[in-house]
């Protein structure tokens, strides 16, 4: 993997100009995810029209990978149903956390460009921060997610 190319071609664009950063008024769903060992934070908000996502917002700060991954995620959500989103989350997790090469490229679309992050074990949590917020927004009990306590993430520590 060419790190410079990855950053230059995708990550920096989203890092410097993250998409969908206008806070929603009265979102239907929202959740926060923190990644204390990295200092990343992302709040994700969703509005639905019937079954489908009509509006989405991500608000956060952190490293380029965390912000770019979340920003790209928001672009993939519009118009999707709960079930469709679950599918994307599942495939993204398979690609990044499990380092699988068997994930469904079609479901992920443009997101496959982040595949190389799977090899940067120390950055896997960064890449997942927005996605965990998304998962919590859809299925959580309203409480914040602390990625350091997610036992499926590679072990790391905040210090």
């Amino acid at each position: 993997m060419d790190l410079k190319a990855l950053y230059r071609e995708v990550i920096l664009d989203h890092y410097k100009a993250p998409r969908n950063t206008t806070p929603l008024v009265q979102p239907d769903r929202q959740a926060d995810c923190r990644n204390p060992s990295c200092g990343d934070k992302i709040k994700l908000q969703l509005k639905f029209d019937n079954d489908r996502v009509s509006e989405v917002a991500m608000l956060g700060n952190g490293c380029a990978i965390s912000q770019a991954s979340a920003s790209m995620m928001t672009e993939a959500l519009k118009g999707k149903t709960f079930a469709e989103i679950d599918r994307v989350v599942e495939e993204f997790r398979a690609m990044i956390v499990n380092g699988s090469t068997e994930f469904d490229r079609q479901v992920l679309g443009d997101l496959v460009i982040l595949e190389g992050v799977a090899k940067l074990h120390a950055r896997v949590k960064c890449a997942m921060c927005g996605w965990s917020a998304l998962d919590a927004a859809l299925h959580g009990d309203g409480s914040d997610v602390n990625l350091d306590e997610d036992r499926e993430m590679p072990a790391s520590s905040r210090g």
Partner: protein, 420 residues
């Protein structure tokens, strides 16, 4: 009582290729006072195979970095190897998940974790803790001191003259006030194998948790944590071919999750401010500071080595050696072994001679190249209960042979000649 057939010279009747595996242990090439080393002090510490030695050297030559997932390559490599070892330990012991495995300094440290964390939080005045007279000091003193600090009652179940646990006495001392029972899986002096599953079930029936000291079982026999039925176990890596510097604490996940950390500091926290600290999840919340990284990775190599031969085959080899050693010792007048022999007895014999003091025996055995321990073996209550002031202990492992037992017997005869 014992099967009396003698081995036909070499290592027959066991599945291990002992002659081949002996070549893996560089210390077996040593000469002691002109004799090839016979190493019979395996209860205290085992020799190390070359693969373990190499794995440590490799850490220090190639990736001597700190773990906790630093972004640079060396830290990444160290973290991967360190966490892979946790997966190996979990598989080796059949733990439900790697996160139930906590790395400590040694068995003693593991047990102090339980006493200092679970014990401090859960034992109070009027409560009782039950241990046995056959415990190593590591599984005796921490409970005794905890009871003293907390105003709890320290109960000690007796042993029979056979060396076995006095089950009647144990039963009579177990009651609704008992909050914790701590017991060795295998005694480091008599090699008695306690029925942990039964004892743990008894403990659970009165609502007590059960701590099994597996320091002498994990190295010598297959141990399946889920079948064992204890709530915590402790053992030391250097007793199963691994480096010094790592102990294992296993605990049921719910218990580990419910416990406060024992040591605090770096790497075990989630958030620190002047006012407040939030801790990380188990196992990390128990691994404060920088761990024995290379020793942990070396432990992974030791597990690989043991699994290559198989714990069942190792156990069978040792039981055969044990049978032969006990038979030979039984033939010698004036030699008394602590505890009765029983089928499947691990290869430990602690004995005393009518005519010589254990220290003098050990001295003369060393003169003949035979390394044994003498003293109380950190088990003073047991010696006291059996009316002994000390003993000489021979303890064997996968690389030992019938021939070596013959050499020890010959050395004891020298002692006899000189003293008797």
């Amino acid at each position: 009582m014992m099967n009396s057939e003698s081995p036909a010279g070499a290592e027959v009747g066991t599945a291990l290729d002992v002659n081949r595996l002996r070549k893996d242990f560089p210390a077996l090439r040593r000469m002691v006072n002109g004799h090839p080393l016979v190493y019979f002090d395996n209860t205290a510490a085992t020799l190390k195979p070359q693969s373990v030695i190499d794995s440590i050297s490799r850490v220090y030559s190639d990736y001597p970095a700190n773990v906790h997932r630093g972004i640079h390559m060396l830290s990444e490599e160290a973290t991967n190897a360190y966490e892979e070892a946790r997966v190996k330990v979990a598989r080796f012991l059949n733990a439900r998940e790697p996160d139930e495995i906590v790395y400590t300094l040694n068995t003693t440290d593991s047990i102090n974790h339980i006493a200092g964390s679970w014990g401090e939080a859960n034992i109070g005045p009027g409560d009782e803790v039950l241990v046995t007279d056959m415990e190593h000091h590591a599984n005796f003193v921490p409970w005794q001191q905890l009871c003293m600090r907390k105003g709890a009652k320290f109960q000690v179940a007796h042993v029979l003259s056979s060396g076995q646990l006095d089950r009647e006495d144990f039963d009579s001392k177990l009651n609704e006030r008992t909050k914790l029972v701590a017991c060795a899986h295998v005694s480091n002096v008599s090699a008695v194998v306690n029925p942990i599953r039964e004892l743990a079930e008894q403990a659970h029936r009165v609502g007590a948790i059960f701590v099994a000291d597996c320091a002498q079982s994990v190295p010598h026999m297959p141990v399946d944590l889920q079948a064992l039925g204890a709530d915590f176990i402790a053992c030391s890596a250097y007793k199963f071919l691994a480096p010094f510097g790592v102990g294992i604490l296993w605990g049921r996940r719910e218990l580990l999750d419910s416990m406060p950390p024992y040591r605090t500091g770096g790497n075990m926290i989630a958030e620190v401010s002047r006012e407040h600290t939030r801790f990380n999840v188990a196992p990390h919340k128990f691994e404060a500071g920088t761990p024995s990284i290379a020793d942990v990775i070396g432990m992974g190599a030791a597990i690989d080595y043991l699994e290559q031969w198989g714990m069942q085959a190792i156990y069978e080899h040792e039981v055969e050696l044990s049978r032969y050693m006990h038979e030979r010792l039984a033939d010698m007048p004036g030699v008394r072994v602590i505890g009765d022999w029983f089928p499947g007895k691990p290869a430990i014999a602690s004995f005393h001679l009518d005519y010589a003091h254990p220290h003098d025996v050990a001295q003369f055995l060393n003169e003949e190249g035979v390394a044994v321990r003498s003293g109380l073996h950190c088990a003073e209550p047991l010696h006291c209960a059996l009316g002994l002031s000390s003993s000489t202990r021979a303890s064997l492992y996968l690389y030992n042979t019938h021939d070596e037992i013959d050499r020890m017997i010959a050395a004891i005869k020298t002692v006899e000649e000189i003293f008797a």
